[in-house]
C-alpha cells in the first residue's frame, strides 16, 4: 500500500512536470512557428480603470501590429516590491516592468537605458500637437523625475504614464448644509473658518462632523503643500548657490550650527503656527490613522472634506453616495493678514510625483518591440485614453485631465516652493523622529508653538549630527562607487563605452564637494 502511494506521488509529480514542460515548449514553439511575438507588461496599477486602459491599449496596438500579442500582468501593490526583485533577479521579469520601489541599482542593473531614444520624436505623435518634439519634451516634467532616479549614470531607464496631484475633495451637499454654499473655500481664511462653522453645525444638529478627514500620510501631504508657503522667501535668501533652492543638507547645517532656530527664526515659527492651525481642522488622532480610515470617514459623510490624491478621485466618484467637488488647497496669499508676510505666491506643481513608471528589462527578448509599445503608450492619443478611463492625470503634455475633473491638472504656473521644517527623509530619520515625537507639544489641547520650538531647538542639533553621519557614510559609498566606475570605464575598449569618464568625474566632484563641505568630520 505504501509502495503504491509512493508510485502515485511520483506519477503525479512526473505528470505535473510533463504538462508544464509541454505547456512551455508548445507555447514557445507556437510563438516561433507563427512569428508571433508576445510582449508582457508587469505593473501594480490595479486601481479602477487602469487594467481596462491597459487592455484597450494592448488591443489598439495589436490592431496596428497583428504579429504582436500584449499581455498585462497586474500585481497587488503590497506584493510588488518582493515580486519585482524576485522577477528581476530570476531573469523572468516581463518585457516592460514597472519601477515602483526600484532604486538606482535595480534600475541600472536590470533595465535598459532609454537615454538614446528620448531625444528623438515619438513616432506615434505624428499628426498631433506633439509631433516632432523630442520624446522627453512630450512629458509634462521633461522626464526630470525619471532622470533623478539614476544620478550616477545620468541615464534614463523609465518613462511615466501619469502624474499624481493632491486636491481638496468636498461633499457638496454637506458643505452647503454647513456653510450655506457648496462653493469651496477660496482662501486660507475661509478654510480656517470651517472649524467654527462645523462646530456650530454639530452643536445645532447633535452631529460629530469633522471639517477634514485625515490620517498620518494624508496629513503629511497637506502639511507639505501648506507649510512651505511660509519658507518661500527664506529658501530664496538662503539658497547657497542662488538657485532658489535650499537643499536639506544646508538646512541641517544651519540648524545644527544655531544659525536658524525654531524659536528665533520667524519663518519657522510661522510654519509651526500654521501646522497647529490647520491640524485643528482634521480628524482627532489623525497622526495614527491610516488611509482607509480617512477615506471611510469621507465616504460615510462623517467629514466635509478630505485632502487626498488624484488616485483617490475614481474611488470617490465610484463609491460616494453624494456629489463630490474638488479644488486646490487654498494657501495663504501675500495679502493674508496672518500668514502673508513670507509668501511669494502659490507654488508650481510642475514637479508632481510620477506614477505608472515603466521600463524595458535587459532580459527582454524583444526590446525594440517593447520600446515601440512604450512609445505607443505614451503617445498623445493613448495617454488621453488612459486619462479618460482611469480618471487620473496623464504625464503627457497637452493631454487634458479627465473631463469630469479638470481640477486634477497640475498647476504648472506658480512660484518657487519653500521647504518643510521637519527634515523628513534626511539621513537616518532621527531629526524627523524628534519632530514627530514632540508634535503633541504643538497640536495637543494645551499645545503651544513656543513649547514645541524650544524642544526642537534643544533636541534637533544632536539628532541632525547623527543623521549627517549616516548621510556621510552613504555619500562616501557613492563616491567610492564612482571611483570604481571610473577605473572600469577607462579600461573598457573605447568602442564599448556608453558613458564618458569626464561625466563620471564631474559627478564625483559634485559628490565630493558636498561631502567635504557638509559632512567631513
Amino acid at each position: 500500500m505504501s509502495r503504491l502511494r509512493n508510485l502515485l506521488a511520483v506519477f503525479a509529480v512526473v505528470g505535473a512536470f510533463s504538462w508544464s514542460a509541454w505547456h512551455v515548449l508548445s507555447h514557445r514553439r507556437a510563438e516561433s512557428a507563427s512569428d508571433r511575438i508576445t510582449l508582457r507588461v508587469g505593473h501594480w496599477l490595479l486601481h479602477a480603470g487602469m487594467r481596462e486602459a491597459f487592455d484597450e491599449a494592448a488591443a489598439d496596438y495589436m490592431r496596428l501590429h497583428p504579429n504582436v500579442s500584449v499581455e498585462q500582468i497586474p500585481v497587488p501593490i503590497r506584493a510588488w516590491p518582493s515580486w519585482l526583485r524576485t522577477q528581476l533577479i530570476g531573469g523572468t521579469a516581463p518585457d516592460i516592468t514597472g519601477l515602483l520601489s526600484a532604486n538606482e541599482e535595480l534600475a541600472t542593473r536590470y533595465f535598459l537605458p532609454l537615454s538614446d531614444h528620448i531625444a528623438s520624436p515619438n513616432p506615434y505623435n505624428a499628426g498631433t500637437s506633439l509631433a516632432g518634439l523630442p520624446w522627453s519634451d512630450t512629458f509634462v516634467d521633461g522626464l526630470a523625475a525619471m532622470r533623478n532616479l539614476t544620478p550616477t549614470s545620468g541615464d534614463i531607464h523609465s518613462v511615466n504614464l501619469q502624474l499624481n496631484t493632491l486636491r481638496l475633495y468636498y461633499n457638496k451637499p454637506l458643505l452647503k448644509s454647513v456653510t450655506g454654499s457648496d462653493t469651496p473655500p477660496s482662501d486660507y481664511a475661509s478654510l480656517r473658518a470651517l472649524e467654527d462653522q462645523v462646530a456650530r453645525y454639530n452643536r445645532e444638529r447633535g452631529t460629530r462632523l469633522t471639517p477634514i478627514a485625515s490620517c498620518g500620510p494624508y496629513s503629511q501631504y497637506l502639511f507639505e503643500r501648506l507649510l512651505p508657503s511660509q519658507t518661500q522667501k527664506l529658501a530664496v535668501a538662503l539658497s547657497p548657490l542662488r538657485t532658489f533652492q535650499l537643499p536639506v543638507i544646508e538646512l541641517a547645517r544651519l540648524v545644527e550650527a544655531g544659525e536658524l532656530s525654531f524659536a528665533q527664526t520667524p519663518e519657522f515659527a510661522a510654519s509651526l503656527r500654521l501646522l497647529r492651525d490647520v491640524g485643528s481642522l482634521m480628524s482627532i488622532g489623525y497622526e495614527s490613522r491610516q488611509r482607509d480610515d480617512a477615506l471611510f470617514d469621507f465616504l460615510q459623510e462623517k467629514a466635509v472634506m478630505i485632502y487626498a490624491g488624484s488616485w483617490d478621485y475614481g474611488v470617490f466618484v465610484r463609491d460616494g453616495d453624494f456629489p463630490v467637488g474638488l479644488t486646490q488647497l487654498p494657501l495663504p496669499t501675500e495679502d493674508d493678514p496672518v500668514y502673508g508676510r513670507f509668501v511669494i505666491g502659490p507654488p508650481s506643481e510642475a514637479n508632481g510625483s510620477p506614477e505608472a513608471t515603466l521600463g524595458i528589462v535587459r532580459t527582454s527578448q524583444h526590446p525594440e518591440i517593447a520600446l515601440d509599445f512604450l512609445h505607443f503608450l505614451t503617445s498623445h492619443a493613448m495617454a488621453r485614453k488612459f486619462s479618460d478611463m482611469s480618471l487620473r492625470m496623464s504625464a503627457i503634455a497637452e493631454v487634458p485631465p479627465p473631463a469630469s475633473a479638470p481640477e486634477l491638472a497640475p498647476q504648472i504656473e506658480g512660484e518657487i516652493a519653500g521647504f518643510m521644517p521637519d527634515f523628513r527623509g534626511y539621513g537616518g530619520g532621527n531629526a524627523n523622529m524628534v519632530f514627530q515625537r514632540n508634535l503633541h507639544l504643538l497640536t495637543g489641547p494645551t499645545g503651544s508653538v513656543e513649547a514645541f520650538a524650544a524642544k526642537l531647538d534643544a533636541e534637533l542639533p544632536r539628532a541632525l549630527r547623527t543623521d549627517s553621519e549616516i548621510l556621510a557614510g552613504r555619500s562616501l559609498r557613492d563616491i567610492q562607487r564612482l571611483d570604481a566606475h571610473l577605473g572600469l570605464v577607462l579600461t573598457q575598449p573605447e568602442s564599448d563605452r556608453n558613458q564618458t569618464a569626464t561625466r563620471l568625474l564631474e559627478t564625483r566632484h559634485l559628490r565630493q564637494a558636498d561631502y567635504l563641505h557638509y559632512l567631513q568630520r
Binding site: T108, R147, P240, E413, G414, T491, L505
Partner: protein
C-alpha cells in the same frame, strides 16, 4: 531499491530540468556586468582573467576597481585592490594610460577607500602624477583633487587656500578640469567669503565650458543670472534667465524666472536687495 525509486525519479527530473540550459551560455563581459552594478559577479570573472594573465594591466585595474565595491566590503579586498594598482603602475610593459590611471586610482583608494585614510601618501601620488605626466588628462584631474585637499583640510574649509587653487587652475589644460576648479572657486567665494562679485566670473567660466550632468547647465544659468542681478548686471541676468527657461521650461522655478526676466530689477526676497 524500490524504496529509492521515488527519490531517484525526482532527482532525475530535477537534473533533467536544470541540466543543459546554462552550459552553452558565453561568459558575460565583466566590464558591462560591473557597470550594471553586479560587482560581485564581475569581480569573480576579473579574478579568473587576472589569474590567467597577471601581466595584463588593463584587467588588473578593472579587477581592482570591482574589488573596491564588491560586497561585502572588506579591508582585504581594498588592500588587494591597492596592491593590484601598485603592481599595474610599476609594470614597465603597461601602457602609459594604464600606468597613469593606476596611479590616480591609488591616490583615490588611499584617500577615500582605506580606513583609516592615508592622505599624505595620496597627496604625494597626486603630486607625482602632476610632475611625471603633466600632459595627461588625469594630471589635470589630479589638480582638481589637490585643490580639494587645499580647500578642505581636516580643520575645515580654508579660504587662505584660494591663491594656491588659482595657481592650479592656471596650470590645467583640459576644459573639464578647469570647469570644476572654476566651480570650486566660485562656490568658495560665494558660500564662505560672501563675495558675489568675485564668484560670478568663475561661474561664468565654468558655464562656458559646459556640464555633462543633465540640467546642470540650466542650474548654472540660474546661479549666474541671480548673481548678475545681485551685482546689478541686468543684461547678463536676462541672458541667463532666458537660457534657463529655454533649457527647463517646465521647472518649478520657471514662472518665478519668467517674472524676473520681465523685470530683473523687481524685488524678490534676497537679502542683497
Amino acid at each position: 531499491m524500490p524504496r529509492l525509486l521515488p527519490s531517484l525519479t525526482l532527482g532525475a527530473i530535477v537534473v533533467f530540468a536544470a541540466g543543459p540550459a546554462h552550459s552553452a551560455e558565453p561568459t558575460p563581459d565583466p566590464w558591462k556586468t560591473a557597470l550594471a552594478f553586479d560587482y560581485n559577479a564581475a569581480a569573480d570573472t576579473f579574478a579568473e582573467l587576472h589569474a590567467a594573465d597577471p601581466t595584463d594591466t588593463r584587467t588588473a585595474i578593472a579587477y581592482a576597481s570591482a574589488l573596491l565595491v564588491k560586497q561585502p566590503r572588506t579591508k582585504a579586498n581594498i588592500l588587494l585592490a591597492r596592491d593590484l594598482l601598485l603592481r599595474a603602475h610599476h609594470t614597465a610593459a603597461a601602457s602609459p594610460d594604464n600606468r597613469v590611471l593606476a596611479l590616480y586610482l591609488l591616490a583615490r583608494v588611499e584617500l577615500d577607500h582605506l580606513d583609516p585614510a592615508q592622505p599624505d601618501s595620496a597627496r604625494a601620488r597626486l603630486e607625482q602624477l602632476r610632475r611625471d605626466h603633466p600632459a595627461h588628462a588625469l594630471s589635470d584631474q589630479a589638480a582638481v583633487q589637490l585643490a580639494y585637499f587645499l580647500a578642505y583640510p581636516p580643520a575645515g574649509p580654508d579660504t587662505d587656500a584660494l591663491p594656491e587653487i588659482e595657481k592650479l587652475l592656471a596650470s590645467v589644460q583640459t576644459p573639464e578640469a578647469a570647469r570644476d576648479l572654476h566651480h570650486l572657486l566660485g562656490s568658495f567665494h560665494l558660500r564662505l567669503l560672501r563675495n558675489a562679485s568675485a564668484a560670478l566670473p568663475h561661474f561664468i567660466a565654468a558655464r562656458a565650458v559646459g556640464f555633462e550632468q543633465p540640467l546642470r547647465d540650466a542650474e548654472s544659468d540660474l546661479t549666474i543670472a541671480n548673481l548678475a542681478r545681485e551685482t546689478g548686471d541686468t543684461a547678463l541676468a536676462r541672458k541667463h534667465y532666458a537660457a534657463f527657461l529655454a533649457a527647463a521650461p517646465r521647472d518649478t522655478r520657471a514662472d518665478t524666472v519668467r517674472h524676473l526676466l520681465a523685470s530683473p530689477e523687481a524685488p524678490l526676497a534676497h537679502p542683497a536687495q
